[in-house]
């Protein structure tokens, strides 16, 4: 026994592997399974969608026994669940395998279709037309072909014995249309994955007017705010605010433009959105030997004074000096909680305090060593001379960096292009045999249009044209639903139809 199993095992296990591969392959190539897979995805999307509504609660209110289930429903984040990801993955795999499986067959239909046919097929077709004619096969075929070519059909012929068989089709590339469409769907998923893995978002990218800031994250981008503009309505509501910016890549200016609410500016995979804005103070700081160690704007907006939220604060960092200057501005809303405004700063004044670098990013402003600056007056602060040059503004942008964008754009073209090819350029096919009989030469023609109403309608328009070029009317086998066709209705009383 053991002996036998040792001998047969390698062969058997290979065939088992083959069987397994074959089974998996068949599973994924089945369109029936695809329907179930898409239906399952549809169900998940519905569950996830309803989670954002009160529908589940309504169900629980109606059937209280379901409350625990409904609670779990609300707790389940479908979009981030592994079940959802697996479903998408299965569908992606099914699409790829299905594509690979179908491609050779479709390619053969396009490049090398079977031309010869059988009388049985023509006779059994739901509809066909049989012309009785005189003339050579070449002449008759020529007339038939002229009509087909005029309607953009390709015509292929083959001699079978003393019969002439022909096959004609148009839009033969139509069946390929589902490929770009389905592959485009996968590409959209890929774009989403690329975006979430390699992209980032910075919701508080602050640039004071006249300054330049690095975007970071290894993008090599920096942005300069050239000018900030705002418009206010009579009642003090901001109507519009606009940042005129220049984007630099590796130090070179690469794009300039304005950014407003709902009007972002994109450069490459980065997009800049207008978010908000605030007040900035331009400071210059000179050390004891007269060297300028800082000349830039400090945005007063990211922080506030700890014990008075109406007083904006900011930090000027001096890394070479291992120092930082905490800056606090005047109370922006003196009527709100006036008792908190212990500094009593006037417009044009700033309170600053020198600390060692990184000492506290938490700007308390409660240290004793603070100094009040007045605009335009150089003032000693520790070992430095600090000047409050002028007031300006800063703009808060959001930076979205999405390397999936090019993939998304390409997939959009694939998806829409694929749909247009599939739906608006349908593959149409006709087969026929020209043969000699006792009553003369007959041309029997039938469309490949089983259960295809439009396909048959197209065939009837061809018949109408053939009637003209062949100069006679055929014996037509009518489909069961003949009265649905305008053409036939109009010709009902004609001979032969």
């Amino acid at each position: 026994m053991a002996d036998v199993s040792v001998k047969t095992n390698p062969k058997q296990s290979r065939s088992m592997l083959e069987v397994a591969v074959d089974k998996i392959w068949r599973f994924f190539t089945s369109v029936r399974n695809a329907v179930y897979e898409i239906a399952f995805l549809t169900l998940l999307v519905l569950i996830g969608t309803l989670r954002g509504s009160s529908v589940p609660q309504w169900i629980a209110d109606t059937i209280p026994a379901l409350q625990p289930l409904v609670d779990r429903w609300y707790a389940w984040d479908v979009w981030r669940s592994s079940l959802f990801a697996i479903t998408l993955a299965v569908i992606a795999v099914a699409i790829v395998i299905c594509t690979l499986n179908r491609l050779p067959g479709i390619w053969t239909t396009i490049t090398n279709p079977k031309v010869s046919t059988s009388r049985g097929f023509l006779r059994g077709a739901e509809t066909n037309a049989v012309y009785t004619l005189t003339g050579t096969h070449e002449d008759i075929l020529g007339s038939i072909e002229r009509v087909l070519k005029g309607k953009r059909y390709r015509v292929l012929t083959e001699k079978v014995g003393d019969e002439t068989h022909f096959y004609a089709d148009k839009n033969r590339f139509s069946n390929l249309g589902t490929f770009p469409f389905h592959i485009g769907l996968i590409l959209i998923l890929v774009g989403g994955i690329v975006a979430s893995v390699y992209g980032f978002r910075d919701n508080e990218f602050i640039i004071p007017e006249g300054s330049r800031r690095n975007v970071g994250h290894g993008t090599g981008l920096s942005v300069e705010l050239n000018r900030f503009r705002d418009n206010w309505s009579a009642v003090g509501v901001p109507i519009d605010y606009v940042s005129d910016i220049t984007v630099y890549e590796d130090g070179q200016p690469v794009k300039s433009g304005s950014v407003r609410v709902n009007g972002p500016l994109s450069y490459g995979n980065a997009t800049f959105y207008q978010s908000s804005f605030g007040i900035a103070a331009h400071l210059s700081i000179v050390d004891s030997s007269g060297n300028m160690v800082f000349s830039d704007a400090v945005d007063l907006g990211l922080f506030t004074k700890r014990d008075n939220p109406d007083q904006p604060a900011g930090v000027a960092r001096l890394p070479q000096e291992n120092a930082q200057l905490v800056v606090i501005g005047p109370d922006s809303d003196p009527f709100n909680a006036p008792e908190l405004d212990t500094m009593q700063l006037q417009s044009g004044q700033l309170w600053v305090s020198l600390e060692s670098l990184g000492e506290s990013t938490d700007v308390t402003g409660s240290g004793g060593e603070g100094v009040v600056l007045t605009q335009g007056q150089p003032t000693r602060v520790g070992d430095y001379t600090v000047t409050f040059e002028r007031e300006g503004r800063f703009s808060v942008l959001q930076v979205g960096y999405n390397p999936g964008i090019p993939i998304f754009i390409i997939s959009v073209f694939w998806v829409l292009g694929g749909l247009i090819i599939t739906f608006y350029f349908p593959h149409r096919r006709v087969r026929g045999i020209i043969s000699d009989g006792p009553d003369g030469t007959t041309a029997s023609i039938a469309p490949l249009a089983k259960r295809d109403w439009s396909g048959k309608r197209e065939f009837f328009t061809l018949v109408e044209k053939w009637n003209e070029t062949l100069g006679t009317k055929p014996a037509i086998r009518l489909p069961a639903n003949a009265t649905d066709y305008d053409y036939l209705r109009a010709h009902e009383n004609d001979a032969g139809i």
Partner: protein, 300 residues
């Protein structure tokens, strides 16, 4: 109300009357004449036997012709209402459910006319036009304040994309209504072999053609929506319920398209998927009533 806005409202009123009248005309045509055929037979035994039979025929064609003309009126006046309001407001009218629904009225009448002309199946009107009429009633039931023109909230001010986003969705909804009507007629034709209806095969083709117009439009609507979301909010897709409701509807029609390629599914099961698809479409359309979130329009 300023003059042009009022003019637009009257145009809507004219449109809604035409659409309701069209719906009635098509229903009269579609339901047709139900006649009781009574036959009296003398039998060989000398008795007489009466048999009565319900018999349905196509309604008077005149009603369908009237219906079509009124539908043209409905489309024209809905178009006038949209254009005048567009001029008055200075932006494409999509700021609230009233305006949004005007676009739908225009779309559904347009798509109905296109399909009636393409196939000549007038019975479709007996289902599509009542849907349109129901829509006009819904619009009348909305808060009258919506008939005023209000400034657009900034999120909706996104230039050229918005009209195309809304337009392609509405046209898609409208073609799905046509597909829905064809699916119902298909199920009737298939079961009853009704002489007053075209063949089931033709109705199946009408439904498929409607979806083959609607599905790409819906796809385009989804794509434009995500492009617009990117401009407005910085992300293409946020899994917002209104977005995912649209995705859900799109997938249902994806299922439909695949069932058509399957033996044993094409036909009846495909038609059932279409009925479900139209329910999903309505769910997407009225999604604002179920969800809060980014797509909550003014007034809803």
């Amino acid at each position: 109300m300023d003059g042009l806005v009022r003019f637009s409202f009257y145009a809507f009123a004219a449109s809604s009357m035409a659409i309701i009248a069209a719906a009635i005309a098509y229903v009269v045509f579609g339901v047709g004449r139900v006649r009781v055929l009574r036959q009296t037979l003398a039998t060989s035994t000398g008795h007489t036997v009466t048999s009565s039979q319900l018999h349905q025929e196509a309604g008077p064609i005149g009603f369908a012709r009237w219906g079509l003309m009124l539908t043209w009126f409905g489309m024209f006046f809905a178009g006038v209402a949209i254009v005048t309001r567009w001029i008055a407001a200075g932006h494409f009218p999509i700021s609230n459910m009233y305006e949004y629904s005007l676009v739908f009225l225009f779309s559904i009448t347009l798509m109905y006319i296109v399909f009636e002309r393409a196939y000549g199946v007038r019975q479709l009107g007996a289902i599509v036009m009542p849907i349109a009429a129901g829509m006009t009633l819904y619009i009348w039931s909305l808060d009258p304040n919506m008939r005023e023109v209000n400034p657009l909230i900034p999120a909706l001010q996104a230039g050229w994309i918005m009209p195309f986003h809304v337009g392609s969705f509405n046209l898609a909804y409208a073609t799905f209504a046509v597909a829905f009507a064809a699916a119902i007629l298909f199920l009737v034709a298939e079961r009853t072999n009704a002489k007053w209806l075209p063949s089931a095969e033709m109705l199946d083709d009408v439904a498929f053609r409607a979806v083959s117009v609607g599905f790409p439009l819906f796809t385009l609507g989804l794509i434009l929506g995500s492009v617009w979301a990117h401009d407005a909010w910085g992300v293409y897709w946020q899994w917002d319920p209104k977005e995912t409701a649209a995705l859900f509807t799109w997938l249902v029609y994806g299922v439909y398209l695949h069932t058509r390629t399957l033996r044993g599914w094409r036909g009846r099961r495909s038609a059932y998927v279409l009925l479900f698809g139209f329910a999903a479409t309505a769910f997407t359309y009225y999604g604002n009533y179920f969800f809060g979130g980014l797509h909550a329009y003014g007034g809803v």
